[in-house]
């Protein structure tokens, strides 16, 4: 049995996060939804977050707050704390949570692939509290979403620089980011082996935001498209350095960062599911006298119970993937299982909430309707549930194998 209890510092952070959630995250999320625009980067809320020490290195913290004093023989708790904080923040509001300052999804590839010098250079500034900072992760392109290997953005070596050309789409926080980790190819004919990860810093000539997306939900943070037009990136910004890319390290690095971000994204849907479930439960408490012999009440209570079971079990799958990561065990299979399992459960939870409210659910109860719109994208980002099934099948039966060849040759 593993004790998942939090140390005192983390408990205190969780308490702060609850306060922040109630006072800011949820109201700001609802407001952004109504106004259909992201929380502006100069909003006082972001400074407040920094003061509290919450948005600095991000909620998705990979290291134990940068502390080097941790006993190296003891397992880390970073991934487990990551899933707990991510769930709690998303319970209050997932849109506002993603808008929080910090390296965001860009932190993972720097952490997994970067040299010590790069980690310090790009992640170090997030310790400062003078102004909010964001990082971003740029993989997706208009023609390459699930099929990551199909990215078209090119990188051509030119002296001590790489010249990047192409465009990226659906990149969170990229307009306000200090840097974006951009994946590009040095040879489009070589597929994944030619992938490289670059840190493209704010203000680099040729980097320009072309569009801010209009989304059906999660409006509190910005999602943008940008182009790279002859962007000159110093070799020092190639994550891991040249030697790192022998073999398929670039692509593998990206995939490895997915192993740590997938449980986080999965557990975010658990947070939304929790909020929806609670909303439905409270609606029942306030509006239905369940010991009256109304036939539908028994059914409602059982559906509420069944939904709660699924939410609890989805969370367990996320925690297991995080636990494995903390113990330095491979977790690709478990991370994908969590990611495939949790978002559909969450979508069902929001739908159940609306159904329990019956006619009252479709008169525009803004909050549950918002959650219903918010949660849907979590079944798409960080690998759709279909992609996760491919990953799972690859792990359990070596899918797709080789035609006519025995598949389990190790």
């Amino acid at each position: 049995m593993i004790d998942l209890s939090l140390d005192n510092a983390s408990r205190a952070q969780l308490t702060m996060l609850k306060w922040l959630g109630e006072k800011y995250l949820r109201p700001l999320g609802i407001e952004a939804d109504r106004l259909e625009r992201p929380i502006p980067p100069d909003h006082e809320f972001f400074l407040k977050v920094l003061e509290m020490g919450l948005g600095g290195r991000g909620l998705n913290d990979e290291e134990d707050n940068g502390k080097k004093s941790r006993d190296p023989d003891k397992p880390s708790s970073g991934a487990r704390r990551g899933v707990i904080f991510a769930e709690e923040a998303s319970y209050w509001d997932r849109g506002s949570a993603v808008a929080l300052p910090g390296p965001g999804l860009g932190g993972a590839p720097i952490h997994h692939m970067g040299t010590p010098e790069q980690k310090e250079r790009f992640l170090g500034p997030f310790r400062q509290k003078d102004r909010p900072r964001w990082g971003a992760f740029g993989m997706t392109e208009a023609g390459a979403g699930s099929d990551v290997a199909g990215i078209r953005t090119t990188a051509v070596k030119d002296g001590d620089h790489y010249v990047l050309n192409g465009s990226k789409t659906f990149i969170s926080n990229s307009q306000r980011a200090e840097w974006v980790v951009v994946f590009a190819t040095v040879d489009p004919s070589k597929g994944r082996d030619a992938h490289r990860a670059f840190v493209v810093e704010k203000g680099t000539p040729g980097f320009s935001i072309t569009r801010v997306e209009k989304k059906i939900g999660l409006r509190a943070y910005e999602t943008c498209s940008f182009t790279l037009d002859n962007c000159r990136i110093p070799v020092a910004n190639l994550l891991g350095g040249e030697a790192f890319y022998e073999g398929r390290a670039g692509f593998k690095g990206a995939m490895k960062s997915f192993d740590s971000t997938r449980p986080i994204v999965a557990v975010m849907s658990v947070g939304i599911a929790r909020a929806a479930w609670e909303h439905a439960r409270d609606f029942i408490r306030q509006n239905y006298v369940t010991d009256r012999p109304v036939p539908r009440y028994q059914r409602i209570l059982e559906r509420l119970a069944l939904m709660r079971m699924k939410i609890d079990h989805a969370r367990l799958l996320c925690w297991r993937a995080a636990w494995l990561a903390d113990h330095k065990k491979p977790n690709t299979l478990e991370a994908s299982i969590a990611k495939a399992y949790a978002p559909p459960v969450a979508l069902e939870a929001t739908r159940l909430g609306l159904e329990i409210m019956a006619d009252a659910g479709i008169t525009g109860d803004a909050y549950l309707d918002k959650l219903y719109r918010d949660v849907k994208v979590l079944d798409i980002v960080e690998g759709t549930q279909q992609i996760q099934r491919i990953v799972i099948a690859r792990r359990i039966v070596d899918y797709p194998g080789v035609s006519g060849e025995p598949a389990d040759k190790e």
């Binding site: 049995m1 998942l4 439960r281 059982e302 065990k329 099934r389 899918y399 194998g401 598949a407």
Partner: protein, 334 residues
């Protein structure tokens, strides 16, 4: 340690004789004794009742491993000490019935009626959870049992019971009855999913169709992926409800949750395992037909999914939504 001992016992003693035990409709006495000698049977039994006092989690590990080899034998072994776990007293094996449909009549301290199916060794004792009651009644006389051929799990021995104005000897809180019965059934269902998945995986990796390994057709690979997901969810759910039982807190919602999760998943996984073997799956030469039947029977025991949802529903509006700590996750998936 417990888990590896259970796994070794299951592989060496149960797996080679699955069909023999099923045909004999019983485990041979020497095997039950051998199991007792390993100490596994008493792992979770309270020390006051002569066990090792390791709790529900230890039991769960044991019966999960046994079920991965043979759910029928695991059920037979698990039932022998179930009365002990519920009572904490050594009453020997008891018939267990959970009446959610008011099929039995209870009045004035007596129980009458017929009960269609109970498993385990016959001792003339019964523990019955009556419909809508918050306690289970213990009966020592007035129960007659007739052997019956169950739809699956023959190894655990099936009986039809007749209660003829059987006097209630004592009562036991419903919670103990519900937690222990659901936890055992859920554990066996989770183990059953794991072995059905493994069986289908091995088969689809061997067989070739249309020039490629069967498992490498996307339609098959995705089904296997779904089976793996659900198997993992079941396992974690029963781990967690066992932990909850051991924590001494109210566990009825959690054991009901584990049962529903494990039952629904096993019904899916075992059906798909049979499906993936095609015509062969339908034949007794393979085990998948057995898994298919066992999932059906285990998921309908002791009130089944409906009973579990009724129990859970009664708690649902009073549950907290805070994240509960500490929780558990343990070891690598076998």
């Amino acid at each position: 340690m417990i888990r590896s001992t259970a796994e070794a016992f299951a592989r060496s003693e149960l797996l080679p004789k699955v069909r023999d035990h099923e045909a004999a409709q019983a485990l041979p006495a020497h095997l039950s004794k051998k199991f007792d000698d390993t100490g596994l049977g008493l792992a979770g039994v309270p020390e006051t009742a002569g066990g090792a006092g390791l709790g529900a989690f230890a039991d769960t590990l044991v019966y999960y491993e046994l079920s991965r080899a043979d759910a029928g034998a695991a059920f037979a072994l698990g039932l022998s000490g179930l009365g002990l776990r519920i009572f904490g007293l050594n009453t020997g094996p008891v018939h267990l019935a959970s009446d959610i449909d008011q099929r039995l009549e209870a009045s004035g301290g007596f129980v009458s009626g017929k009960w269609p199916l109970s498993f385990g060794r016959e001792t003339g004792r019964a523990l019955v959870l009556l419909s809508g009651s918050d306690s289970a009644v213990f009966i020592e006389t007035g129960v007659s049992a007739t052997p019956c051929r169950p739809a699956a799990l023959d190894t655990a021995q099936g009986w039809t019971l007749s209660f003829d104005k059987a006097p209630v000897k004592k009562t036991v809180p419903a919670a103990a009855f519900q937690n222990h019965t659901r936890q055992l059934a859920a554990t066996l269902l989770a183990g059953l999913s794991a072995c059905a998945l493994e069986y289908a995986r091995a088969y689809t990796m061997e067989r070739k169709t249309f020039g490629r390994t069967l498992a490498h057709h996307q339609g098959v690979a995705f089904v296997l992926a779904e089976m793996a997901m659900r198997t993992e969810a079941s396992r974690l759910a029963v781990w967690r409800s066992a932990w909850r039982m051991d924590s001494g807190k109210e566990a009825r919602f959690d054991t009901a949750a584990a049962f529903v999760e494990a039952a629904q998943n096993a019904l899916f996984v075992c059906d798909q395992a049979l499906q993936l073997l095609g015509g062969h799956g339908y034949m007794k030469d393979h085990f998948v037909e057995k898994y298919f039947r066992e999932a059906r029977v285990l998921s309908q025991l002791w009130g089944g999914v409906d009973g579990a949802l009724m129990t859970a529903g009664a708690f649902s509006t009073s549950l907290s939504t805070e994240i509960g700590f500490p929780e558990l996750v343990e070891g690598r998936t076998p």
